[in-house]
Amino acid sequence: MTWQWFNRLTSPKSYFDITDWLLPPMLIISVILMMVGTYLGLYDSPIDYQQGNTVRIMYIHVPTATASMFGYVVMAIAAAVGYIWRIKMAHMAALSIAPVGAAMTFLALVTGAIWGKPTWGTWWVWDARLTTELILFFLYVGFMALHSAFEDRELGDRAAGVLAMVGVVNVPIIHYSVYWWNTLHQKSSISVAGKASMPVEMLTPLLLMMFAIILFCTAISMYRIRNEILDRERDKNWIKERLSA
């Protein structure tokens, strides 16, 4: 009985029906929250006494970095589910999340550089978080590149799935080793992440932006899954009906 229910949940058709009404409000809410968060962050919150106004980039940098790491884990879990239980939707989900996660990683790198320039005088620093983001970017790109190298998409799904599973085990290891490497060579004591305790006026926009960006990424990924479904299942009748309606 529950198997039937689960099957219906993971069927492309019911996914389409659910996301028809779920996604537009999701997207709108996330954009609104982002606007509120950005306003609060850029205008309303206090300035950091050491870094001045440049700390405001943190409100974009930290959420995007968090989203990128979160995204990789979700992608890896989806790929694993698809590989082990052979659920096509799970593979499609992993594939859809990948570019979104990669874009978030890229944004984190760029905002990190923008943060770095006024703070340390250079466009790039080998700070622990930025370096981990860089490696994460390579992992995302590797996933997408491997998948697109296969002519048979479903084979590519499985291959990329193996890669994601191997990669996700490595992510905490990479994270740890980069931090360790960084402490070896740390010259300045300012950490990009900011101080451990943050006043509420800074914390609120930060958390808001984190939530908003993750919600936004989720909505975008879910839209991408819809596209993926349209592409892969294009011969199915229910799709033909939809498109002609």
């Binding site: 052979r86 002519e151 048979d152 998409r153 479903e154 892969r232």
Partner: protein, 210 residues
């Protein structure tokens, strides 16, 4: 070898998918010892895919494949496929010494006898890169003779064999089947054996076929 009519392989509702297309679905098959099936179908229908799937090279998408047990060990079919599986930098003898068959490695005498039988007696120590395509295939065929296998799965085994070779192979297959072995094969050329040859035709939905 085996008592005849012992079930070797049971396939239920097998469906195989390739390049995002179902090649066939709902395929049922029961293979017993002493039986031989020829798999037929159009080009691209999925004959090779079926054989590879039964060997475990292609993960099936739906249905199940149940190789039966013999002495508590699952039966491993001997697969003879499109590529002869001969390493050019090893000699003919080494090729057979160092590649396992049916989970076992075999030693000199058995291999030499088999090589004589396929007509490669003079080539023991030649590197396989010096062989012609037909000769390379004979090395692979020698594997059939060496191993003590319950089931042969042959994909276009007559390719690159001359007329004498084809006749010889047909004889080998017939005597194997009479001894109780089971065979699944595909072939573009007509096959004439002196045992009953059953036919399995592949169409897209095997249900409608039954």
């Amino acid at each position: 070898m085996l008592d005849t009519h012992k079930l070797i392989l049971q396939v239920n509702k097998l469906g195989v998918r390739r390049s995002e297309r179902w090649l066939f679905r709902n395929l049922d098959l029961k293979l017993s010892s002493g039986e031989i099936y020829q798999v037929v179908g159009q080009n691209g229908a999925g004959k090779t895919s079926l054989l590879r799937c039964l060997c475990g090279l292609l993960p099936e998408q739906e249905g199940d494949i149940a190789w039966q047990q013999d002495d508590e060990m699952p039966i491993i079919p001997l697969f003879y496929g499109h590529l002869p599986a001969v390493k050019p930098e090893l000699t003919v003898l080494e090729n057979l010494l160092y590649h396992p068959i049916n989970g076992n490695f075999y030693n000199g005498d058995v291999i030499e006898a088999a090589l004589h039988e396929v007509g490669l007696g003079a080539y023991f120590d030649s590197e396989a890169r010096h062989l012609s395509a037909g000769q390379a295939r004979r090395v692979a065929l020698a594997r059939l003779l060496i191993a003590d296998s319950k089931c042969w799965i042959l994909d276009e085994p007559f390719t690159a064999l001359d007329v004498k070779g084809c006749t010889w192979l047909e004889g080998i297959i017939s005597s194997y089947v009479k001894r109780g072995g089971s065979v699944l094969l595909t072939s573009h050329q007509p096959v004439s054996l002196d045992v009953e040859l059953k036919v399995l035709e592949i169409v897209e939905d095997m249900n409608s076929h039954v």
